[in-house]
Symmetry: C2
DNA sequence: TTGCTCTTGCGAATCGTTCTCATTTGTCCC
DNA sequence: GGGACAAATGAGAACGATTCGCAAGAGCAA
């Protein structure tokens, strides 16, 4: 069990403030992968005077110290999750946007090998599977990366 | 050898205009993965009165008819490439931003299997390897997806 | 407290990308 | 070849997630 986010922050020398405590609480209570605005709305329920800018600044700081991780599934806004102790990849349910985490050592290995064969040292990767729940697999989508087809506005990061 | 982009367009009923011809020419002469602004600048060299809006519109249309594909390596702007006849993934040289294409049937298979085991039907995926050229692998990067750490402004799409 | 640095709020600024609308162009048809 | 019409274009405004600037507040060590 990892220590509370607040403890982790203190351990990393991140100054604790009221707003940060609220945001940390929101994050630790989130089991989904919320985007900045969602974090903001949840935080605002606890402290209505918190500012969206503070949310952005805080998640950046948390990324900096490796407490949070951001992903941009689907190319609209960035979504956040606590940095997992064990690396995992994501499967995105294209019907609902829900994210399922999984790990697969074989894939990890293959990636290393491929990079090496191309003359590189792997420093990071992104693997996302976009999928439809089995059962009634309708929706005659054209083809290609379905994600890009539905994105709207994009995001930034430091 | 695939027919010229212009022929492909005609075959798909895409109305040919002077601007589109210019953009198609730029795209077919590009061996890199240019972003919209790069396409615009290259096109402007041929037809200085072309508008950036036209580039965006054209590129969207081409995606619609499956002639182009977009990717958002690194989360800044979308980058384009002709839709390959054979699917491939990308390795991004984090030092230069250059993109290397590769294919690996084993990985494709694994992905299918993983989705299936989770109760889904794979409809798309994204696999990107971020890597440093071997030789002098310095740069003490913290960890995590290095991409997100360097992105700046984000993008949109339909 | 005092001092000092880091943080916060608010609103303005960014900046890829998209939209609006008046105008031009491609295409089909006679 | 001339019209008719839908579709495409240019220019600039609009959008929207994210970031910045700056004045006011808050941790925290001494």
């Amino acid at each position: 069990m990892t220590s509370s986010l607040e403890e982790q922050c203190i351990a990393k020398g991140v100054k604790m403030t009221g707003q940060r405590r609220v945001i940390l609480r929101v994050l630790s209570e989130s089991t989904d992968h919320p985007d900045a605005d969602t974090v903001f709305r949840r935080a605002a329920k606890i402290d209505p005077k918190i500012s969206i800018a503070t949310v952005y600044r805080t998640v950046h700081k948390l990324e900096e110290v490796n407490i949070l991780e951001s992903h941009d599934f689907g190319g609209d806004r960035l979504r956040y999750e606590q940095r997992p102790e064990q690396h995992h990849d994501h499967l995105i349910d294209v019907r609902t946007g829900k994210v399922i985490e999984f790990t697969n050592p074989q894939i990890e290995e293959l990636q290393q090998r491929i990079a090496q064969e191309l003359g590189f040292r792997l420093v990071g990767h992104r693997l996302e599977l976009y999928a439809m729940p089995l059962k009634e697999a309708d929706k005659p989508k054209a083809a290609g990366h379905p994600v890009h087809a539905r994105a709207t506005r994009r995001k930034r990061a430091r």
